[in-house]
Structures are given as structure tokens and as C-alpha cells.
């Protein structure tokens, strides 16, 4: 599933059938090359971050959250990853030799596990497994 098609989707709680927010962004951990949380907008104010473990399903029309799931503010290991400067779409891409590979245009991820499958850049597609680092300046891909 693509970041671009998931963004803007309604996030609905399974128990109360109530909308808790709209998908606004993705928190990615470069160490595991996977999505570890969703950033939401239009929440009730209790927080804007939904960790992956609290997601029941990412479906074609809505994201369903588990019963008892709560939104929070990024804390612990998640805090530095949730920094807006680490958002993938539009991010500059470099390989580990210092050659530019364009910017991130979209990301294909596994809706079941959160694993990044394909990084789509303005110059071509790269397997998610190549992700080496993600910082304020660039996404770094390892040599194939």
C-alpha cells in the first residue's frame, strides 16, 4: 500500500465506531526499515501519534484501531523518529557513496507488518531493504 493512498484516510476505533483522526504522516524506523507509527490530524487533542501495535487493520477505506488503543505523544525511542524533519515524502535521497538519487516521491509498504517494500524516488525505485539511515538532511540507501 502506498503512503500517498493511506494519507488522508479516516482512522476509526473498532469498539466505539468513532473517528479518532485522519492519517497525516508516517513515522519510519530506519533500523528496521518499517513504519512504526502513524501521525494523525484532526484528533480530539489527546495526542497525534498512533503506534503500530495499536493498529488493527489498514484497509482500503479506513484504518481500524484496536479496542483500548490510545493516541499519544511520541516518547522514548519514538520521539526522535517522529520528528517532522524525518518525514519521507519529498526527502532527499543519497546512496552511501555520496551520489544523489533524487527525492522520495512515494513509499510502498506492507499494510500487515509495516515493512517498507519500495522507496519510489524521482529517479527510480529502490527496495525498502536498502534503507540505511534517515535523518534531517537525507534518506541514505546502502549499495545494492
Amino acid at each position: 500500500m502506498l503512503f500517498s493512498e493511506t494519507a488522508g484516510r479516516q482512522v476509526v476505533s473498532a469498539t466505539e465506531a468513532r473517528t479518532v483522526g485522519i492519517v497525516d504522516g508516517f513515522v519510519v524506523d530506519p533500523a528496521t526499515a518499517s513504519v512504526v507509527a502513524l501521525r494523525l490530524k484532526k484528533t480530539d487533542g489527546s495526542g497525534d501519534t498512533l503506534v503500530w501495535e495499536h493498529i488493527h487493520a489498514i484497509g482500503p477505506d479506513a484504518v481500524i484501531v484496536r479496542s483500548g488503543a490510545t493516541l499519544g505523544t511520541p516518547s522514548g525511542e519514538l520521539a526522535p523518529l517522529a520528528d517532522k524533519h524525518r518525514s519521507l515524502p519529498g526527502k532527499r535521497v543519497l546512496d552511501e557513496r555520496g551520489e544523489a538519487l533524487g527525492t522520495v516521491s512515494d513509499v510502498d509498504f506492507d499494510a500487515d507488518t509495516g515493512a517498507l517494500l519500495t522507496i519510489r524516488t524521482t529517479t527510480g525505485d529502490h527496495p525498502g531493504k536498502r534503507v540505511l539511515g534517515l535523518g534531517p538532511y537525507a534518506l541514505i540507501l546502502r549499495e545494492p
Binding site: 555520496g98 551520489e99 527525492t103 529517479t123 527510480g124 539511515g133 535523518g135 537525507a138 549499495e143
Partner: protein, 203 residues
């Protein structure tokens, strides 16, 4: 934004870069943070290798940094960034400078003479060959050509050889090197190959 694509080359991929293009390049960690930019190259004078880089901070108002990047800390030297593992590879500026001579000031502007006594022009830049993005050495000079080369004063590239004698004032090259002048960097890569092949047969 469009960026040039650099196809992953064959096993022995090498790239020619001008020293002036390497300065200002960002120094980026494998974690994706830009932590400095290259201020100047430090050359190991005798061997013509890059010994390291002095650094400045990123941004208009930032000045030179107290730490520098030794070549051993370079993970990759590419067209768009100098990659390092993390900031632990930095060393004090004094330690890096000790390994060579900073800058290109010592050769820039020097006159290039053949051993036959012809003035080919003045050095305007240093050409560095980067192999596999991990080793780099000086392979030649960009010169603003004199009338002797019949290039109407354009910038041309000449290969360097081990027998090159250099001082702050002039550089004397074998007359044969003048036959391997190239008009651009892609052409220069071929010229360097041809020049090396010629020198091997002479020895």
C-alpha cells in the same frame, strides 16, 4: 527537483572530480544528518593522495570548524556528498593538517612548463580521481591554456606523472604529457589511461 543519475558502475568504477567542486560539498552521516561542509582539501604532497578535509559549519554565518575529517574517516566521496559513518571519525584540525598541505594555494596559479621549455598555461584547478568512491588521488590539473596548446585560452586538462617536478612557482612535465591534453573531464579519464599505458611501455 531533478538530480543527475549516476548509474551504479562496473566493479572498477571511477570518477573524475575537480577539487573546487568538492569544496562546499556537505558532509553527511550514514544516519542522514548533514554535520559540516568541506572547506578545503588536504593533500599528502608527495603521493598526491587526499589526506583529508578541513571543514566549515553549514549555513551562511558559520565559520571554520575546529575538527577536520581525515581520509580514513571517509565512507564515500560522491558527486553530491562526502559520506561518513558518524561524527566520531572527526579529528582535530592540527592532526589532519599534519598529514599534508592544506588547500590548493600552493599549485593554483603556477605556470606549467614542458621539459622542452614550452609554457602550456597556468593551473586553475586540481583533478582528483575517485575510485569506488573510497580512494582518491590527484591525477592531473586543469590549466588555463596558453597559445602553445592552440586551444584559444580555454580550460584544458593535463595528466600528472610521478616525474612531475613542482614548486610554488612552476610545474615541469614531460613534453609527452602535453600530447594527452583533454578538453573535458570525461575525455580526461581516457587521456589519463592512455598516458599511463604509454608510460608503462616506456619504462
Amino acid at each position: 527537483m531533478t538530480a543527475p543519475t549516476h548509474e551504479p558502475g562496473p566493479a572498477s568504477s571511477s570518477a573524475m572530480m575537480l577539487a573546487s567542486e568538492i569544496t562546499k560539498r556537505p558532509v553527511v552521516t550514514l544516519a542522514g544528518a548533514a554535520v559540516a561542509q568541506v572547506k578545503d582539501l588536504v593533500f599528502d604532497g608527495t603521493a598526491g593522495r587526499i589526506a583529508g578535509f578541513t571543514l566549515s559549519g553549514r549555513g551562511l554565518l558559520s565559520g571554520p570548524l575546529r575538527h577536520s575529517l581525515p581520509w580514513s574517516g571517509v565512507h564515500g566521496l560522491g558527486h553530491d556528498a562526502v559520506m561518513i559513518k558518524d561524527e566520531s571519525v572527526f579529528e582535530s584540525r592540527a592532526d589532519v593538517l599534519e598529514r599534508g598541505s592544506a588547500g590548493r594555494g600552493d599549485v593554483l596559479g603556477s605556470r606549467v612548463l614542458t621539459d622542452g621549455g614550452t609554457d602550456l598555461g597556468r593551473i586553475s584547478d586540481v583533478v582528483v580521481e575517485v575510485v569506488e568512491g573510497t580512494t582518491a588521488h590527484v591525477v592531473g590539473y586543469e590549466i588555463a591554456s596558453s597559445d602553445a596548446l592552440d586551444r584559444q585560452g580555454r580550460k584544458v586538462f593535463i595528466p600528472l606523472s610521478e616525474t612531475t617536478a613542482v614548486s610554488g612557482e612552476a610545474l615541469v612535465i614531460p613534453a609527452a604529457a602535453a600530447e594527452f591534453v583533454a578538453d573535458d573531464l570525461p575525455g580526461f579519464a581516457a587521456a589519463v589511461q592512455a598516458y599511463r599505458a604509454r608510460r608503462r611501455t616506456e619504462v
